[in-house]
């Protein structure tokens, strides 16, 4: 919501002081200043010019030559990139030597061989508003613009302060100049009052031939109309246009402009109908029926539903969508003479639902959905429209025609001062609370132990004791609340899961992995490209097609990252990621089966590198009985990857990404890969460390080499060796794997070093010999591997 200092002062004339400090006061009231500007300052050199002739530039298509009269009756040529003006238009022209607000000085220039002697200005260029589209065309309703006069003088612009305020959804009142003035006056402890409105009614009540029927009382709380006759539609007065432009609205004609002006001033959206087009002069209010059609002011035909409210005519035909937008059929036109002005109060939830359904936000609906004032301000608004229309020849017929529906409950809120102080941490007396509340229009109807507080009609949002507490805190000043810390003492700690997750990160970072954090969205096709099942949860309203699915694995995202980095010639990539994946909901569940996964990718290395990382993590987390078992997962190399089991349960996969997958992503080199369900893994058994006494007896090492067929895995042999060696086998290590011609087809040699040690005695040679034989026997009995002598 934008407000002008001069406009605020119409309600609180004593507002004074440094604009920056006033802005701080507004911010401290909860009306955060998003921007502030001093407007209408003398722009010496900018004058009113009139377009004499428009000619194409001989050498440039996007520039035209504009001959303007700057008061001397002679054409001055200006090169201009805008094409929105016509011969005869009045426009602001910055003459040579003018220093623009941005600091640029206007000088004579040559543009592709044509001289430019100044600049035609848009509204934003000269601080007259926000419009930067095209040159500002100065309207001249009273034919009083004098060519060559300084612009500010010609337009009657006074220096002013413009604030753009952020108004929260709970402040319907502050969506108006008057509402902001009320708050500011309370904070500054200066008077606030509405100026007297002079409608100048004439005629008798019989002339007010309009009637109103509310058929759905839950939709419309109150509906006021006034009939204005003798209006001549044309441009609105200059001062009114200036204010609209400053507040960001485009002047259209006096009737529309006045309607908008009153909405901005009093926060009361209102609608004007061409009375001649309202069948029967009867306005009705009801819910629409499903499929009912209406063409709105913007020329769009819209299909209504039974949650929408409509205003109807005598034929029960919809002529407007309640609180959203008027209908085209009763729109004000140049020929309009008689006007019905409507000021209504619509049920905010109803308006909100229609706004959402039609996706149609308007200045009116923004206010209605927050809950506009349903009290005296409605009368004030309809009268203010009449008063302003009187300046355009309008004459209000006597009286307001009004109908009522269900208005909000205005029974007082019981406010316990002790509770307020306990909530805020303050020690305010009931008197102080009353003072704060009355300053913004809350009435205290009873003050004993508790306060009975009646909420003003402009604060529909305020319903409960805590809502009132906020108003007290706001007027007391948040900064005046003493700062304390909670007295209850608690021991803060990370959970075991959180500590373990940090450990995983630290271990990986320690061995050179960079943590990545891509967004969890996938494009349709990513899963298929990655070799994964295509079933995934989709988004209903994705921003872009490429981000319309939720990932079911960290693989596709990592593949994209690797491809991206390789495309920038970075190949030494060691990436990990910890993030959520989303599987379809379990039977009977609404939410996805959401899991926290860990992935590790090593570009340029093959499967064993990933297994080493797995073992490293297994060691750090003390994973019991870490095993690799077939089968592997989709997307991975069929012969170079395995499932990962801990204590017999599967938690993910390790190995290498399938080269076929890599090829589809344009990734060169091999990629070692590990993906684990970290959440589930850390829920399982892990982390138990036990003390084993270090033996003081000597160790004996033996080496055993086996001739092993392809089908037998090293883990199987190791299992046999461990079994054979029993408790005395203190260490086992594969130290050589050899595959060569001497081994024959599909066979390899695996050599292990076994270290034996007892905790009780020195092992004799014959004992070692027996252990050696037991190990060999175990391997040869259980596998097809044979000892190499």
């Amino acid at each position: 919501m934008k407000v002008l200092l001069s406009w605020l002062k119409e309600f609180a004339p004593d507002i004074d002081g440094d604009p920056v400090e006033l802005g701080e006061t507004l911010s401290a009231l909860g009306l955060a200043v998003e921007s502030m500007s001093i407007i209408g300052e003398e722009l010496s050199g900018v004058v009113v010019g009139q377009v004499l002739e428009l000619k194409p530039h001989p050498n440039a298509e996007r520039i035209q030559l504009v001959d303007v009269d700057l008061g001397d009756g002679e054409p001055t040529q200006i090169c201009c990139g805008a094409f929105n003006m016509s011969v005869g238009d009045f426009i602001p022209v910055a003459t040579i030597g003018t220093v623009m607000p941005g600091g640029m000085e206007i000088a004579q220039r040559e543009l592709r061989g044509e001289l430019s002697n100044g600049m035609c200005c848009s509204a934003s260029e000269i601080g007259m508003g926000l419009d930067s589209e095209g040159i500002m065309i100065l309207s001249n309703p009273n034919a009083d613009l004098e060519i060559g006069t300084p612009l500010n003088q010609a337009l009657g612009i006074e220096p002013d302060v413009l604030w753009d305020l952020e108004v929260n959804a709970n402040r319907p009142d502050a969506m108006s100049v008057a509402g902001v003035a009320r708050d500011l006056a309370a904070a500054l402890q200066i008077p606030f009052a509405f100026p007297r409105i002079d409608v100048g009614e004439s005629g008798n009540a019989n002339e007010t031939n309009v009637s109103v029927r509310i058929q759905d009382a839950s939709l419309c709380g109150r509906f006021l109309t006034r009939v204005i006759k003798g209006v001549s539609v044309g441009p609105s007065p200059r001062w009114l246009q200036n204010r609209l432009v400053n507040l960001g609205m485009r002047p259209i004609n006096n009737v529309v402009d006045i309607s908008n002006y009153v909405m901005l001033e009093l926060g009361q959206p209102n609608h004007t109908y061409d009375m001649a087009k309202v069948a029967g002069g009867i306005l009705g209010v009801r819910r629409a029926s499903n499929g009912e059609l209406i063409t709105t002011l913007d020329g769009t035909e819209r299909e209504l539903s039974d949650i929408d409210g409509v205003i109807t005519d005598a034929d029960d035909k919809p002529i407007g969508i309640a609180g959203i937008m008027g209908g085209e059929s009763t729109e004000i036109s140049e020929t309009t003479e008689e006007i019905i002005v409507e000021v209504a109060w619509w049920d905010p939830p109803s308006i909100s639902r229609t706004v959402k359904r039609l996706n149609l936000m308007s200045e009116a609906s923004i206010r209605f959905r927050r809950g506009v004032d349903y009290g005296e301000n409605m009368v004030r608004a309809v009268d203010r429209v009449a008063e302003l229309l009187a300046e355009c020849g309008g004459v209000a017929t006597s009286g307001i025609v009004e109908a009522k529906g269900d208005l909000p409950d205005r029974s007082p809120i019981i406010v316990r001062p002790a509770k307020i102080n306990a909530l805020l941490g303050t020690g305010l007396t009931p008197d102080a609370m009353e003072r704060h509340l009355s300053s913004i229009g809350f009435e205290i109807t009873q003050k004993r132990k508790n306060l009975n507080v009646t909420v003003p009609t402009w604060r529909w949002d305020t319903e409960t004791e805590t809502d009132v507490a906020e108003e007290i805190a706001r007027m007391h000043g948040y900064e005046n609340i003493a700062r304390t810390v909670p007295r209850g003492s608690q021991a803060g700690e990370l959970s075991q899961f959180q500590k373990d997750r940090r450990l995983v990160r630290e271990v990986l970072v320690g061995v050179g992995f960079d943590e990545t954090m891509p967004m969890p969205f996938l494009a349709p096709g990513d899963l298929k490209l990655s070799g994964l099942p295509e079933e995934a949860i989709s988004l209903s309203n994705p921003l872009v097609h490429e981000e319309s699915l939720l990932r079911t694995s960290l693989l596709p995202g990592q593949l994209k990252l690797i491809a991206y980095n390789q495309s920038h010639r970075i190949n030494d990539l060691k990436f990990f990621e910890i993030g959520h994946i989303f599987l379809p909901p379990d039977e009977g569940d609404l939410l996805p089966d959401e899991r926290e996964h860990l992935s590790v990718a090593i570009v340029g290395e093959d499967a064993p590198s990933a297994v080493k990382i797995l073992n490293l993590l297994g060691n750090a987390l003390v994973l019991p009985n870490l095993q690799l078992k077939e089968p592997t997962a989709d997307g991975l190399h069929p012969r170079r990857s395995s499932s990962v089991l801990v204590a017999g349960k599967p938690y993910g996969h390790v190995g290498e990404i399938s080269p076929r997958t890599l090829q589809r992503f344009g990734i060169t080199g091999r990629v070692a890969w590990l993906e684990l369900d970290l959440g589930k893994l850390l829920e399982g058994p892990h982390g138990k460390r036990r003390y084993v006494k270090v033996s003081k007896y000597p160790t004996s090492d033996i080496d055993l080499a086996f001739d092993v067929p392809e089908s037998v895995r090293s883990a199987e042999i190791e299992g046999c060796l461990r079994k054979g060696g029993g408790k005395l086998l203190s260490n086992l290590m594969l130290f050589d794997s050899y595959k060569g011609e001497s081994m024959g087809e599909e066979r390899r040699s695996l050599a292990y070093r076994l270290r034996f040690q007892s905790t009780e005695t020195t092992l004799t040679d014959s004992q070692i010999g027996e252990l050696r034989q037991k190990c060999i026997d175990e391997v040869q009995k259980k596998t097809k591997a044979r000892i190499r002598e």
């Binding site: 909860g30 959804a169 409960t464 320690g510 990545t516 954090m517 969890p520 209903s540 959401e594």
Partner: protein, 331 residues
């Protein structure tokens, strides 16, 4: 009788001619070995008169000792020189660095998140987490945001194709974790909830559709708005530095009442909006079966990405999801 002094002198000179341990050993053998003059002289002791024998023997022993010392010292000298030579031959240019070892890097978001968690853990909070896909109940309704509420529009929610239309969504804030915690745990509650959140913001230099927030919730007896302001103050000082101040300004969130934005001071004296906070709305407590007459509390929240972006003056927040290794390895 041999001239022992001369012998000793000769041995010294001979020892110097030896430049290796092996050579020295040969020379030493000449003077101390079985065939050396000293040994011969010792054997010849029997042929000298008994009265002189003891003196001569003593002289021979002394001479032997002094020659032995000569060779021992020379041996040490040679060994030292050999070590020097060997080590000198092992020269390596330490600036020739092949295959350097590099550490990895935690993502900036993780670094900031860990740091924030640590500050709050130090203040007595525990860290709560929740799912990224949520129901309308947790994301909105339990937080006092009914379906018609204008504030719902502010969340620009990304919905998920599950359940009824707009029933399931990517959480648009971390506040659902408040509800999940209060449903699971009786007060007193002191938690922070960091995590990923989502909005339909097209990615540009200052927006991402997926970003990170951290949320705090305290529910206890007698918690006041003063406690909220004091807690924010304590956090701001612990995280940003002792000299940084905080302030609260009135604002609006459906799930807190009173509500506030909180700002932190910048070195130039201006204020920077950091996040939102307020006293937990009684409706929110009731929705979680906590009696608002018995318990009170506050909540606060802010964006982590923005914090990171400010701290490192990132000119494009998309760097945080692009994962260019050249970016990741800077921190």
């Amino acid at each position: 009788m041999i001239d022992l002094q001369k012998l000793s002198q000769e041995a010294k000179e001979a020892s110097i001619t030896a430049s290796t341990v092996e050579e020295l050993s040969k020379v030493q053998n000449q003077y101390l070995g079985k065939k050396s003059e000293l040994v011969k002289a010792k054997k010849g002791l029997g042929s000298i008169p008994e009265s002189d024998r003891a003196t001569a023997g003593k002289e021979l022993n002394e001479a032997r000792e002094s020659i032995e010392i000569i060779f021992t010292e020379r041996k040490l000298e040679i060994e030292e020189a050999e070590w020097d030579l060997n080590l000198a031959s092992e020269k390596i240019d330490l600036t020739e660095l092949l295959n350097p070892i590099t550490r990895g890097h935690l993502h900036l978001i993780t670094q900031a998140r860990d740091q924030l968690e640590d500050v709050f853990v130090g203040m007595g909070f525990t860290v709560a987490e929740g799912p990224e896909v949520e129901t309308a109940w947790y994301n909105f309704e339990a937080l006092n945001i009914p379906d018609w509420h204008p504030a719902r529009g502010n969340f620009d929610t990304i919905f998920v194709d599950l359940g009824e239309p707009e029933e399931v969504m990517l959480r648009s804030h971390t506040s659902p974790v408040q509800i999940r915690t209060m449903e699971r745990q009786a007060p007193p509650i002191y938690i922070v909830a960091p995590g990923r959140t989502f909005r339909t913001d097209s990615a540009d230099s200052t927006h991402l559709p997926a970003f990170n927030q951290i949320e705090g919730l305290v529910i206890d007896k007698g918690i006041t708005m003063g406690d909220l302001a004091g807690t924010i103050d304590a956090f701001v000082q612990a995280f940003f530095g002792k000299e940084v101040k905080s302030r609260l300004r009135p604002s609006y969130f459906p799930f807190t009442e009173p509500s506030a934005e909180f700002d932190i001071s910048r070195p130039d004296g201006s204020w920077l909006e950091l996040g939102g906070c307020g006293m937990v709305h009684p409706n929110v407590l009731s929705n979680c079966n906590i009696d608002p007459e018995e318990w009170q509390g506050f909540a606060f929240g802010f964006g982590i990405d923005r914090l990171v972006s400010m701290r490192y003056q990132l000119d494009d927040i998309r760097e945080l999801v692009l994962n260019d290794a050249r970016f990741l390895r800077q921190f």
